[in-house]
């Protein structure tokens, strides 16, 4: 979707403000939100693409104003309600609905080290031949879906070169909407900065994006 989250190439969003000796979490609630997002992910009611898309659905003005973990909190709440893990009434009252069954947490403390060590690989076994080879010229499609995509606006309808083939990966555009993983080849695609930004860019500079088959055509 063409929302403010897709901000590559925008101007006017202010100076970068690095912080010396920055803590991992600035406040305890941030740590709890981060941990709740991970723990709730273990119920496997959604996936990482759906989580990202849920945060993209935050209205643009709010998205720009909210801190990172506020966005995580908002996204988590909406996903839990959508998937029936909690109700809005429970959220407002702060208590489980009368008569609702108490579940056993999907993620217990003893499982945390293994979960972190294993992660959730997004590649899939496949024997399919990649459509493109390294150094082949490609052109990105001009797509403007209302749903989730990982093809940023700044790289649509641009010519690039396949730099390397990563393998077969879950396709976010369908996975985010629970329409299947549609695994397909993922490529590192090299663009000259001038192809993306015009003559103002340095001639030798490049930008690399990881793009799936469904974003690409032969140039």
């Amino acid at each position: 979707m063409n929302s403010v989250h897709d901000m590559g190439g925008m101007h006017g969003l202010g100076p970068i403000q690095p912080e010396q000796n920055e803590p991992v979490f600035h406040e305890r609630w941030e740590a709890r939100v981060f941990a709740m997002v991970r723990a709730m992910g273990s119920w496997r009611k959604w996936n990482i693409d759906a989580s990202r898309h849920q945060r993209e659905l935050i209205p643009g003005a709010d998205y720009l104003r909210m801190s990172y973990f506020e966005k995580w909190l908002a996204g988590l709440i909406e996903l839990m309600i959508k998937k029936g893990l909690i109700t809005r009434a429970e959220l407002e009252s702060g208590h489980a609905a009368a008569g609702s069954a108490k579940l056993t947490p999907a993620l217990t403390a003893d499982k945390v080290p293994l979960m972190l060590a294993k992660g959730s690989p997004a590649n899939r076994d496949s024997n399919t031949t990649p459509r493109f080879q390294a150094e082949q010229r490609v052109r990105t499609r001009n797509i403007n879906p209302e749903g989730h995509t990982r093809l940023p606006r700044y790289a649509r309808a641009k010519n690039g070169t396949i730099d390397r083939i990563h393998g077969v990966f879950v396709f976010p555009d369908t996975n985010a909407h629970f329409q299947g993983e549609k695994p397909q080849h993922l490529y590192s695609v090299r663009f000259t900065a001038r192809e993306l930004w015009g003559e103002q860019a340095a001639a030798q500079d490049t930008v690399y994006l990881d793009l799936w088959d469904d974003y690409l055509d032969p140039a």
């Binding site: 989250h5 901000m7 590559g8 190439g9 925008m10 101007h11 969003l13 970068i16 920055e22 991992v24 979490f25 406040e27 609630w29 740590a31 709890r32 981060f34 941990a35 709740m36 991970r38 723990a39 709730m40 990482i48 990202r52 801190s67 990172y68 909190l73 893990l85 909690i86 702060g94 208590h95 108490k102 579940l103 947490p105 999907a106 217990t108 403390a109 499982k111 945390v112 080290p113 972190l116 060590a117 992660g119 590649n123 990982r150 093809l151 940023p152 700044y154 990966f169 590192s188 993306l196 860019a201 340095a202 030798q204 500079d205 490049t206 930008v207 690399y208 990881d210 793009l211 799936w212």
Partner: protein
């Protein structure tokens, strides 16, 4: 101009956007609801927080880089298959499942960003700093990398090739900085202590130790 406008215009004193105070209460209430429903185990939340506050952080990445600087066979493996080479050191997992290492040279400088959200190699560098997740960095790293680096105090020669890596998929990038001159006698652990998170994102160089005696 009203007082409100005045305050608003000057509310730029830190990259960390302050959340409304009630968020603390909202989060506590949510956690208590999820515990009551049996959806989360508070001890699991504690374990997750503890892992990122005390165990998983940029020291992981620094070990990888120091090994690559001192062991050319390891570096070859790192550049060919970073996920596997990093796993040799017992490092990897969540948000580091698919790693690619990109090497800085006298002619090439690499910079990592995620314009669409804030993708970052958690298992190698820990959780990202606020500036990495901020709109200013996400928006400008791809269009004006030289300007962005200048804001970090890094001025590169005009003829350096800057490669910006926009993390649009589940591939996570680790910048292999240049080993600074004058560190030939340093061991792996001493080298690792020089390697900063920012250098592994690509917004800084690695500097030799300040005191010459330590060489």
């Amino acid at each position: 101009m009203t007082d409100h406008d005045h305050n608003h215009d000057h509310d730029h004193d830190g990259a960390h956007q302050a959340a409304p105070p009630e968020v603390t209460l909202r989060v506590a209430a949510l956690e208590s609801l999820l515990i009551e429903k049996g959806l989360v185990d508070p001890a699991a939340l504690d374990a997750l927080v503890d892992s990122y506050e005390h165990k998983i952080g940029p020291r992981n990445g620094a070990k990888v880089i120091a090994r690559a600087w001192t062991d050319s066979a390891y570096k070859t493996r790192l550049m060919a298959d970073a996920t596997r080479a990093i796993a040799e050191l017992g490092i990897g997992g969540m948000q580091g499942e698919h790693m690619v290492a990109v090497e800085n040279t006298p002619k090439v400088h690499n910079l990592v960003v995620c314009t669409l959200c804030s993708c970052y190699p958690h298992s190698i560098l820990g959780l990202p700093p606020v500036w990495y997740k901020s709109s200013p960095y996400r928006s400008r790293a791809v269009i004006d990398p030289r300007g962005v680096l200048r804001e970090f105090g890094l001025e590169l020669p005009q003829d350096t090739e800057i490669r910006v890596w926009d993390s649009t998929a589940e591939i996570r990038y680790l910048v292999v900085p240049q080993r600074p001159a004058g560190t030939e006698r340093l061991g792996e652990e001493q080298l690792a202590s020089l390697i900063t998170r920012d250098a592994m994102i690509g917004v800084a160089l690695v500097h030799p130790p300040r005191t010459q005696e330590s060489l």
